[in-house]
């Protein structure tokens, strides 16, 4: 695993490149797209272990922090969905160039999944399987979760868990509806949701109507990593990671 700096100097990001531990000719490169804020912290170790698993299976893997998040340069005021979707495109090109692979699969978790869907509209070269792992489908509902957790404070309009939500970011989230995002025709999409909620059903209907090749999975275990019980635990859901690895390694 090698730490690398990616992107332009004005929008630099920290990434970790996991070189494959063995050569597997048709193994894709895999880009891991993390969630936002508290969920990024909760899932950090789990995604690191997923990267290790995939690298051991022969996939070059890149993890990275969007600009202004995690250990990357920048602060909360640069948060924006189009900006972070652009970051995915930059990371995609970096991974393709570094690995020499012609196909890059994306695994997006929570808001990272939603960003993958947005980024897929502009990044089409070399795009392989897109895994939407417990995606944030309705941005307004997601925003409400954070708004309900935020306490009164002075200075800024809205923040939760130490992350400030700029007006721009709030607007981005409030207008996000994944069911309205059109993924490229022919794209392979694997969506994993926790339940058949109304939002999930709307997304499934939209993906089914589109021209993507859809693999739809409902698994209550998909969000266990995000539970309060898991918050202070170093245990990761290995069965879930194994399932995702299997999907990535399936031949197109």
């Amino acid at each position: 695993m090698t730490p690398i700096r990616i992107g332009a100097e004005t929008r630099e990001m920290l990434g970790f490149y996991h070189a494959p531990s063995r050569s597997v000719a048709d193994a894709p490169a895999v880009l891991l797209c993390s969630p936002f804020g508290p969920e990024a912290i909760r899932s950090y170790r789990m995604l690191r272990l997923l990267a290790d698993r995939l690298a051991n299976a022969g996939c070059p893997v890149l993890r990275f922090d969007y600009h202004g998040t995690g250990d990357s340069p920048g602060d909360d005021d640069v948060a924006s969905l189009p900006g972070w979707a652009g970051d995915i495109g930059v990371a995609h090109r970096e991974l393709a160039a570094r690995s020499g692979k012609s196909t890059v699969a994306w695994i997006g978790l929570r808001l990272g999944a939603s960003l993958c869907a947005l980024a897929a509209q502009t990044v089409r070269t070399g795009l392989g399987l897109v895994v939407l792992w417990d995606p944030v489908i309705a941005g307004m509902s997601y925003l409400e979760i954070y708004r309900s957790q935020s306490g009164p404070h002075a200075g800024v309009g809205f923040e939760t868990m130490g992350f400030e939500f700029s007006d721009r970011f709030r607007n981005d989230l409030s207008t996000l509806n994944l069911a309205n995002v059109t993924l490229p025709a022919g794209a392979r999409v694997s969506a994993i949701v926790g339940s058949e909620s109304s939002h999930a059903t709307a997304l499934k209907d939209a993906l089914t109507r589109s021209e993507v090749r859809l693999d739809w999975t409902v698994s209550p275990a998909v969000a266990e990593w995000n539970s309060e019980k898991a918050l202070n635990s170093a245990v990761v859901p290995m069965q879930l990671l194994q399932g995702i690895e299997s999907k990535v390694m399936e031949r197109a």
Partner: protein, 278 residues
């Protein structure tokens, strides 16, 4: 300011981000995990602290201890505590190698505070420690305060008293009389809280060495820490409380979960480092 993320330590298994400042001051800062939170700290606190310190010329390394975040699990047979101390020493070595600083101050929260404390005891290069929400030693007044708070919330002394008795019978008491309070209690990583006498002896060792000790207690643990002079009441007999900075901040919570708290903690830490460098 420049930031570099790099592997270091035994088998290059540790991962950290160096915030270099030029010119480097005489003291370097080490920031690391609070529980299982990665090196960026609770809600990115460590990143913000590191960047604020860099502005005032203090180089820092925020890093993951073995088995956390981006660091590999330890390969040896050391205990959790021994391994954490070894990791912190490796971080000091790196910061010296990269910036030339030879003295260090550590900032730890929760289990991170315990790790900072153990490293300070083990390594004389440590000249300062901020221990936020480390060991708590409730006094009689702590319990009375809590009882009064519960009585207010539960609508009366009788109800609060009944609830207290039920908790004691279930073995969930946090009182002075519990075995855990007398003998120390294990945290989620298996470390044992020292007895008051042991903790005082170790603190004495550090202040005698000239280590700047900054004990910070948030308002998140009302069961075990809930008033301004609690530490003074519990440890006054050891003659060390006037040789340390002790602060109870009920306006802060354990994970600095608002932007206001984060800004306050960043400013507080930056100010503390200024005093250390003088």
């Amino acid at each position: 300011m420049s930031e570099t993320t790099l592997a270091f330590g035994a088998n290059s298994g540790l991962m950290g981000t160096l915030s270099a400042a030029a010119p480097a001051a005489g003291v370097g800062a080490l920031l690391f995990n609070a529980g299982v939170v990665p090196r960026i700290g609770p809600n990115r606190l460590n990143v913000r602290i590191a960047r604020a310190l860099a502005v005032q010329g203090v180089p820092s390394l925020r890093f993951d201890l073995s088995g956390r975040g981006d660091s590999a699990p330890a390969r040896g047979m050391e205990s959790y505590e021994e391994q954490a101390v070894a990791d912190i020493r490796a971080a000091m070595n790196l910061l010296t190698e990269r910036t030339g600083v030879g003295r260090f101050a550590l900032m730890g929260i929760c289990s991170g505070a315990e790790n900072a404390f153990h490293a300070a005891l083990a390594d004389e290069r440590v000249i300062g420690v901020t221990l936020m929400d480390s060991y708590h030693y409730p006094t009689l007044r702590t319990h009375l305060n809590r009882f009064r708070q519960r009585a207010r919330m539960q609508g009366g002394v009788i109800r609060a008293g009944s609830a207290w008795i039920r908790r004691r019978l279930r073995g969930n008491g946090n009182g002075n009389g519990s075995a855990a309070a007398r003998q120390g209690a294990a945290n989620s990583f298996g470390s044992i809280r020292p007895t008051p006498d042991e903790f005082a002896a170790k603190l004495t060792k550090l202040v005698d060495r000239g280590v700047n000790i900054d004990l910070l207690f948030s308002g998140s643990f009302l069961e075990t820490y809930n008033y301004e002079n609690q530490f003074r009441d519990g440890f006054g007999r050891f003659g060390i409380v006037d040789r340390m900075r002790i602060e109870y901040r009920p306006d802060l919570d354990h994970t600095l979960s608002t932007a206001v708290m984060q800004r306050e903690m960043v400013a507080r830490t930056a100010s503390w480092f200024s005093s250390l460098s003088q």
